[in-house]
Amino acid sequence: MNITEKILTKASGKNKVHPGEIVDANVDMVMIHDLTGPLAVEAFKKIGIKNVWDNKKVIVILDHQVPAESVKAAELHKIMRNFAKGQQLRLYDVGKGGICHQVMPEKGHVLPGTVIVGADSHTCTYGAFGAFATGIGSTEAAAVFATGKIWLKVPEAIKVNVEGNFHKYVTPKDLVLSIIGKLGAGGAIYKSAEFTGPAIRAMSMAGRMTLCNMTVEMGAKNGIVEPDEITRKFLEGRTTEALVPFESLKSDADASYEKVIDIDVTDLEPQIAYPSSVDNVKPASKIGNVQVEQAFIGSCTNGRIEDLRLAAQILKGKMVKDGVRTLVIPASQEVYMQALREGLIENFTDAGALVCGSTCGPCLGGHIGLLASGETCVSTSNRNFIGRMGSTEASVYLASPATVAASAITGRITDPRELEVSKA
């Protein structure tokens, strides 16, 4: 069996599972946030059960419209706070957490071998830790609150074997964009995407999270990476739970895959997803002259300390071009503090970028940095759909933190390797 099948086998109390089989799995952790949570709370009340099945396994995170930008958002937050208080749930409120997909692992709620569901499509991020994690809706979250279980169809798996070394300005974001470009927006629909190979073993947790985060953009049910020493090191000090032996979370040599893709990243170029589809991917070097009015570095895809370091390295000592509003949003309070200690916040501020408090913010067009008609944004986030970041007549290009930082300096979408040439 592969790692996903092994986790679902254990979670459903079976000896073996097969792709296509529907299993009833025990859930180890469920997460809701301020935009999906209120509907889940309403639905849970209708079920007529007083308490959630296990209050240690339900996490509430306020991250999308924080701090409340409107009275309507404030009312939603109130619903969430009251629910968390009434059910005695762990709540990460404004100032105490950040973006849910960063906070969950940081606070030790994501453990290898577990089944995690979240009322957010990017819940698949946690697969980076060798967990089975997938997004669900609000009503389904309410059903999990009541029962602690969920039905799941065991997915077929695509194995992505990655070799080689990244160029210093080419990142896991470029890798995942190029994979989505090849497979298409529905190319992994209902499937599992398993990342393996020497380049994955050498990759930081941040990079693995970026890869798994974006698997939903090709329709995947989950993305997953076998846990290893890098995983263990990240988890150290973040959880007091005993970890399952990682040997039990390796795909067998004879595990079956629907497809195997081999990629060498050595010659991989920075990639751009053009509007208005995440699979509309071309190399940054071919983009020509695309002027931008906004550059955004942040989100659950690319708001981690490693991303900020890379962007700061490019922006340090430079100025963002007049006419390019540059927003930097650390993925969590922990990332914010680390960036502060390393002087990155100063680098960004000196360069004329605005550093905001941790939130999903402009990524989903909720608040902070929305776009007007006719405007263009180059963004490290995950979606470039029509109207995603504001006006339906605005354009969003997706790229890595290095590409967005380089573009903020030049005012047009720029291959970050260009800056190296100009330095020499």
């Binding site: 499509s121 997004g135 909720g366 029509i386």
Partner: protein
């Protein structure tokens, strides 16, 4: 369980941001959400859907975010059923869970024109195109999903099952 209505067609990869833009996620009342259904592609959609329609899409319908507000907006605008070549999995589950029937049907886009008069029979697994006098056979939904739909959604289904125990 059967539904009938005229088809409103959309293309492939219809995402949840065009079905219900993020700025409306602060709305809770499904009737308010319905006023913005499909706003990203056709702001006149809620008016057209009022009489009870069947949405027909290409592959990967409902891709993107997990927002249940997307199928809710469709349901309350008057959509009785969504037929598509394939669905993004979260949208598919969300729709079933709120009691909006969805059926995967390869080749549906080619078989239906805008405005065609359709009747969908969920138990039989058939889609009748009365305008074209054609009938399509589709894979039947599993019995437990049909049960959720006939109960009106997952919450009603769960209440019934929990009361039985």
């Amino acid at each position: 369980m059967k539904v009938s209505g005229n088809a409103i067609k959309f293309g492939a990869n219809v995402d949840t941001d065009v079905i219900l833009p993020g700025k409306y996620l602060v709305l809770i009342d499904p009737k308010e959400l319905a006023k913005h259904a499909m706003e990203g592609l056709d702001p006149a959609f809620p008016e057209k859907a009022k009489k009870g329609v069947i949405v027909v899409g290409g592959k990967n319908f409902g891709c993107g975010s997990s927002r249940e507000q997307a199928p809710l907006a469709l349901k309350y605008s008057g959509v009785q059923c969504v037929l598509a070549g394939s669905f993004a999995r979260i949208f598919f589950r969300n729709a079933i869970n709120i009691g909006l029937p969805v059926i995967e049907c390869k080749g549906i886009s080619a078989a239906v024109d805008n405005g065609d008069d359709l009747t969908v029979d969920f138990e039989a697994g058939t889609i009748q195109n009365l305008s074209k006098r054609q009938s399509l056979q589709v894979a039947k939904l599993p019995p437990f999903i049909l049960e959720i739909l006939s109960d009106g959604g997952l919450i009603e289904n769960l209440r019934r099952r929990l009361n039985k125990e």
